[in-house]
């Protein structure tokens, strides 16, 4: 089934689609190896086709999409909880997310196409742990926590502790992500997501950023700045955040904040862009995001 250079046929598969989390763990305990846990498959299939992932003979696929208990969005006691298998379109169209975490909705609108968002899941985006995963900077400024479930029970951790490197995270083989949780944003807060790619749609980020600020009488409080594609994982830019804290926003302050961002990141050169370009664009993108937060509150 090879049709052009770089496209490989899919390996033989053993397919399971458990309907509940209990059945999932039963399956996991004696699934034939190697196995892969999948949800939307919108990154899994390209990963196999392009050879990022390869399997010698056959692979066992455990599909989480039939588990209804992993697909929900709820707002309870000031916290927003999202099931890991919630599709991106559901997040985008959810009134709860639009009101309580508009920065996440903004990030999701820039991801893939309508077709991809109809299939892709938020848990998939996080578990692939790409430095360019676009939900992650938005979730980092929301102080999101993720819940992993395994045969020994559940554990919850900060998203930034979950991510350990490009394509790497702390999840064990027999664990699955079940939930993403974060505190709802307050009325006096403002947040913004921006990304730069080779074109404006259906593109992987060259640099992305999410900025969240509370403006109290023009003074910045609780500043949170996160960036994607500028380090081994999406990261928070702590020194730039500390610099803005308690300051009044003007052109000079925003400019110096952008310069700090350039110093703090460690971008690499890859197929999509050079490290130098990323460093320049990162500063510009953060400056634009801060300016937009400021305008939104005026």
């Amino acid at each position: 089934m090879k049709n052009f250079i770089g496209s490989r046929s899919l390996p033989d598969m053993i397919y399971h689609a458990p309907e509940s989390i209990e059945k999932l763990f039963l399956l996991l305990s004696d699934a034939a190896r190697p196995f892969r846990i999948v949800a939307g498959c919108t990154d899994f299939i390209p990963a196999v086709r392009t050879g990022r992932w390869s399997f010698d003979e056959e692979v066992t696929i455990i599909d989480l999409k039939q588990i209804k208990a992993l697909n929900y969005i709820e707002h309870q006691g000031g916290m927003v909880h999202i099931g890991a298998c919630t599709r991106l379109t559901q997040i985008l169209e959810s009134p709860e997310i639009q009101e309580k975490a508009p920065v996440l909705a903004r990030a999701v609108t820039t991801m893939g196409s309508w077709q991809v968002r109809n299939t892709a899941t938020i848990g998939g985006n996080i578990c692939m742990s790409s430095p360019a995963g676009d939900t992650i900077p938005a979730l980092l400024v929301l102080d999101a926590r993720v819940t992993l479930a395994g045969p020994d029970g559940e554990e919850e951790m900060l998203l930034k502790e979950f991510l350990t490197g490009p394509g790497q995270n702390t999840m064990e083989d027999n664990q699955v992500m079940t939930r993403i949780s974060f505190p709802a944003m307050e009325k006096n807060e403002t947040a913004c997501f921006k990304k730069i790619g080779n074109r404006t749609a259906v593109i992987i980020s060259i640099v992305s950023t999410a900025v969240r600020i509370t403006l109290e009488h023009g003074v910045c409080r609780n500043v949170k700045i996160a960036m994607g594609s500028v380090a081994p994982t999406p990261i928070r830019i702590n020194r730039a955040e500390a610099f803005l804290e308690g300051k009044r926003l003007d052109q000079e302050v925003i400019h110096r904040c952008g310069a700090l961002v350039s110093e703090e990141i460690s971008p690499i050169t890859d197929l999509r862009a050079s490290g130098d370009y990323r460093r320049d664009v990162a500063a510009t993108l953060v400056k634009r995001a801060i300016a937009e937060c400021m305008e939104e509150k005026e």
């Binding site: 089934m1 049709n3 496209s7 899919l10 390996p11 033989d12 598969m13 053993i14 397919y15 689609a17 939307g40 498959c41 919108t42 299939i45 390209p46 086709r49 392009t50 696929i61 599909d63 999409k65 379109t89 893939g112 196409s113 309508w114 077709q115 991809v116 109809n118 299939t119 749609a201 259906v202």
Partner: protein, 162 residues
């Protein structure tokens, strides 16, 4: 691994036996002989393989066929009724939103889903373009496609639709 698969394709219930590693694209083209579903990039970039699964557009190249067990699937063949082209197809030919035709079936399915969703509300150029971001066309430059989608919406508002 062979798996029995039940689908409703363009209104007909079908029972197929498929390999676990077959994509919906492959099954629709090879087992169901629906050649409007075009195979191109196979990684979700181009949208030529777009079909509706339970009324929502998806890239059939990124969907394992066994994962949509029991679903209702619609392809461009399902738009035709009594050998009559669908009003959305008429709009695409009237407005010359079609040239080589390779992207057209996928484009039609996304546009069809878009128009059905926007019952009563107006479709702006910007919203049409945003919704069709996942369907690449290398001929038309999209201007006539946007016109065609607007024309199709007018057809629907005038009651010329099915």
């Amino acid at each position: 691994m062979k798996i029995p698969l039940n689908l409703t394709i363009n209104g007909d219930t079908v029972e197929l036996t498929v390999d676990a590693n077959e994509t919906l694209l492959h099954v629709l083209r090879n087992s169901a002989s629906l050649q409007s579903v075009h195979r191109s990039c196979e990684e979700g970039e181009c949208g030529a393989c777009t079909v509706l699964v339970n009324n929502e557009p998806v890239n059939s190249c990124l969907v394992l066929a066994v994962s949509v067990q029991g679903a209702s699937v619609m392809t461009a063949e399902g738009l035709v009724r009594n050998n009559e082209p669908h009003p959305i197809m008429k709009a695409f030919t009237d407005e010359l939103g079609i040239q080589c035709g390779f992207c057209t079936p996928g484009m039609l399915m996304t546009a069809y889903a878009l128009i059905n969703r926007c019952e009563g509300s107006e479709l702006t150029d910007e919203f049409i373009r945003k919704s069709l971001q996942g369907n690449l066309c290398r001929c038309t430059g999209y201007v006539n496609i946007v016109k065609a989608v607007k024309k199709a919406k007018q057809n629907k508002d005038a009651g010329y639709w099915w």
